[in-house]
Amino acid sequence: MNDVRNAVDAASALPETTQPETTQHRHLLDLHDWSVDDVTRLFQTADVMAEVMQRTIKKVPALQGFTVGTLFFENSTRTKLSFERAARAQSADVLSFAAGGSSLSKGESLRDTLKTIDAMQADLYVVRHHAAGVPYQLARWTDAAVVNAGDGRRAHPTQALLDAYTFRQYFPGFDGFAGKKLAIVGDVRHSRVARSNIELWTKLGAEVALCGPATLLPREFEQFSGVTRHFRLEPALEGAHAVMALRLQQERMQTGLLPSLAEYQARYQLTAAHLAYAHPDALVMHPGPLNRDVEMSGALADSDRSVIDRQVAAGVPIRMAVLYTLLVGKR
């Protein structure tokens, strides 16, 4: 069909089609079944949303009549805010459930909690939970769409999408992910950000080099396709086009995974000097919140190589695109 405009004008005329190579997904739980074309189209939609967010009036009526429920069993002001902004910027109604876990700890099952919330009839839930798999469980129990906003160590797909989207936007002379190298440094073991970025970047054709102490970088990661495992920064960063440091939780020291903070800083803290190993145009990334001078030197985070602020800025357009992509065309 070559005439999109006619179709809009004619309820009786030609149904408009999605591009044939993309899939209409019900949920965004992880990126496993999202094809490269699906991701590419999502990025294109995010481009449109980014333009909307640059206007004086940062609001479009696209999701009028839809209700988005944010269901954060684990606190995250930043991500929750980002999703709520993404929903409201498209005129969706937002229901915010403060699901701090109090009722669950009293023995209510997850399913019962959802049943209560489902009575509010949201069209889409944005879910964060400290246990891996909860968004998958909820997706089995509700007719609404489910977006994983971070489940345990499992996945944080919108973070990975905005990381790759930022790279695509800002890497000088970007010509695709093939042949590109992403280095991820730090606590890979506990990181859903790392898992989702590994899934996405390798899918898009990039190589992912992981770096960290063995206690935080399990050897099973060697078996993932397109992934290499390093204990030293130099080989991990060599030729990397993007270098991402992961947040180091202070409790890792208490549980014996690290001997001391000083040792971690000495071996794995990213500084401007380390960028000498990387590609001359390498971007410096961090999923936030940043522990300044722990996983990354403050100077590097503030340098012109850092796109940390741009990652944050990309969060809303990417999440707008996710909401749009999952909700429109669902009926």
């Binding site: 997850l110 400290h130 798999g133 099973e220």
Partner: protein, 448 residues
């Protein structure tokens, strides 16, 4: 008392290794069978006053059951089931659990002691036995806890518990952390001739693991429990068995490396034996990627290589017993998240059809070997008399339909846990009827 005949029975007495068509070749005549029973030739088995009376005797009976040419063999023995009474009746109780056992073809069940309160007193044992007798379902032979409150600090009164009817000492559900306490328990049990069953997982290695540690756990981001946690604890427990001479039964061995330890000690003549479960023989850790807590079990489902190794061990005849580790929970408990949901699978009603379908019809093991691990295997572990069809033996028999395929329908379970990892899976080998103490305690709906 009543006299019952099971007509048209294809009798299989494991103690005579009658090899009708259970996978081991020719069929010598049954010594008790005047008509020279063969695979194509069925017989009538008479049960009288709770014991087996004999074959093809004739005479008046109070009840007649037509086995329809199905296999009739001694009912199974499960050394490992969580019946949840007292205190956790919302999950299971003696009535539902023993009925479920009978529906699974089991005539005898050893119940675990991790109830609320924990089974630590002789009176509790006596009460459980009395109640089970009144129920008249599968026989109950309760285990008692090794330590008070399963805390691993202070031994229970083994002798008094034994006198009250406890047949096994175990803290199953919780590993005995303190090696010294395990040593003392074994010394004491050895003197009394009691079997100690272990839950061998080293807690400091297991940590907060909810599934097998490996590629799958790292991929899906659930905390892992390494094989090493099981293997080192099995090693410790086997060494203590060797040291003390106690009969130690290693429960639910889940991994190749864990089983290799058991087998090595067995070869050296240590007084140890090993159990595997239906789920560890049929499911892998890949199942956890569906994020359904129904697959969450301790020890965890392992890799495909581990499953293959355990199957091979079973085929080689070195596995002592198959115990179900039937561990029912409520649906609501299993509808929690993967970290919070409790460990355990309810499986006693599907154990035989599952193993028959997945292992026997696929030629992994013979039917005779599978039956050995459900009949003679467990009784040898306990030093009980072997199940058989001799006149004078307990009239505990099961009628098994090896031909008909049926889907697993959890909603029809006698157990309170009416959900299953195998729901809707089509299986063969369903029990048609189970007789315990000479009385029919289970009959499949629509079978007569």
């Amino acid at each position: 008392m009543s006299r019952i005949v099971i007509r048209n029975a294809r009798l299989y007495d494991p103690e005579y290794d009658l090899k009708y068509d259970v996978g081991e070749g020719s069929s010598p005549p049954h010594p008790n069978d005047p008509t020279n029973n063969t695979a194509t030739n069925t017989a009538d088995l008479y049960l009288n006053d709770g014991i087996i009376e004999g074959v093809n005797l004739g005479g008046d009976v109070d009840e007649s059951f037509d086995a329809g040419g199905n296999l009739v063999t001694p009912a199974f023995v499960d050394l490992h089931a969580h019946l949840r009474e007292p205190g956790q009746e919302v999950k299971e109780n003696l009535a539902s659990g023993l009925a479920a056992a009978a529906a699974g073809g089991y005539g005898t069940v050893v119940s675990m002691a991790n109830t609320t309160p924990v089974i630590t007193e002789p009176e509790q044992i006596a009460e459980l036995i009395a109640k089970a007798e009144r129920l008249g379902q599968a026989r109950l032979r309760p285990a008692a806890a090794l330590s008070h409150g399963l805390k691993g600090e202070r031994l229970t009164d083994f002798a008094a518990l034994q006198d009250a009817g406890a047949v096994m000492i175990t803290d199953d559900g919780i590993p005995v952390r303190d090696a010294h306490l395990m040593r003392r328990a074994c010394e004491y049990a050895a003197e009394l001739g009691l079997v100690i069953q272990t839950h061998s997982e080293e807690p400091s290695l297991r940590q907060d693991g909810v599934m097998n540690e490996g590629t799958v756990s790292q991929r899906i981001g659930l905390p892992g429990n390494p094989v090493a946690a099981e293997a080192v604890m099995i090693y410790r427990d086997c060494e203590i068995a060797h040291l003390t001479g106690a009969r130690v039964h290693i429960a639910h061995v889940s991994s190749a490396r864990g089983w290799a330890v058991v087998e090595r000690f067995k070869e050296q003549g240590a007084p140890v034996s090993g159990e595997v479960t239906p789920h560890h023989l049929t499911l892998t850790d890949e199942a956890m990627a569906a994020f359904d807590p129904v697959y969450k079990v301790a020890p965890p489902l392992r890799s495909a290589a581990d499953v293959a190794f355990l199957r091979d061990a079973l085929a080689r005849g070195v596995v002592d017993s198959i115990g179900t580790d039937h561990a029912p929970h409520t649906r609501a408990e299993k509808d929690r998240d993967m970290l919070d949901a409790p460990f355990g699978i309810g499986n006693i009603e599907v154990a035989f059809p599952l193993l028959y379908s997945e292992l026997v019809t696929t030629d992994v093991v013979t039917l005779a070997e599978l039956l050995r691990r459900l009949q003679r295997g467990p009784t040898d572990v306990m030093d009980w008399s072997r199940p058989n069809l001799d006149p004078g033996s307990p009239a505990d028999v099961v009628v098994l339909d090896l031909g008909t395929s049926r889907p697993v329908r959890p909603e029809t379970f006698k157990s309170k846990a009416t959900f299953s990892p195998w729901a809707q899976q089509t299986l063969r080998g369903w029990p048609v009827a189970t007789f315990v103490r000479g009385r029919k305690v289970y009959e499949r709906e629509g079978s007569s």
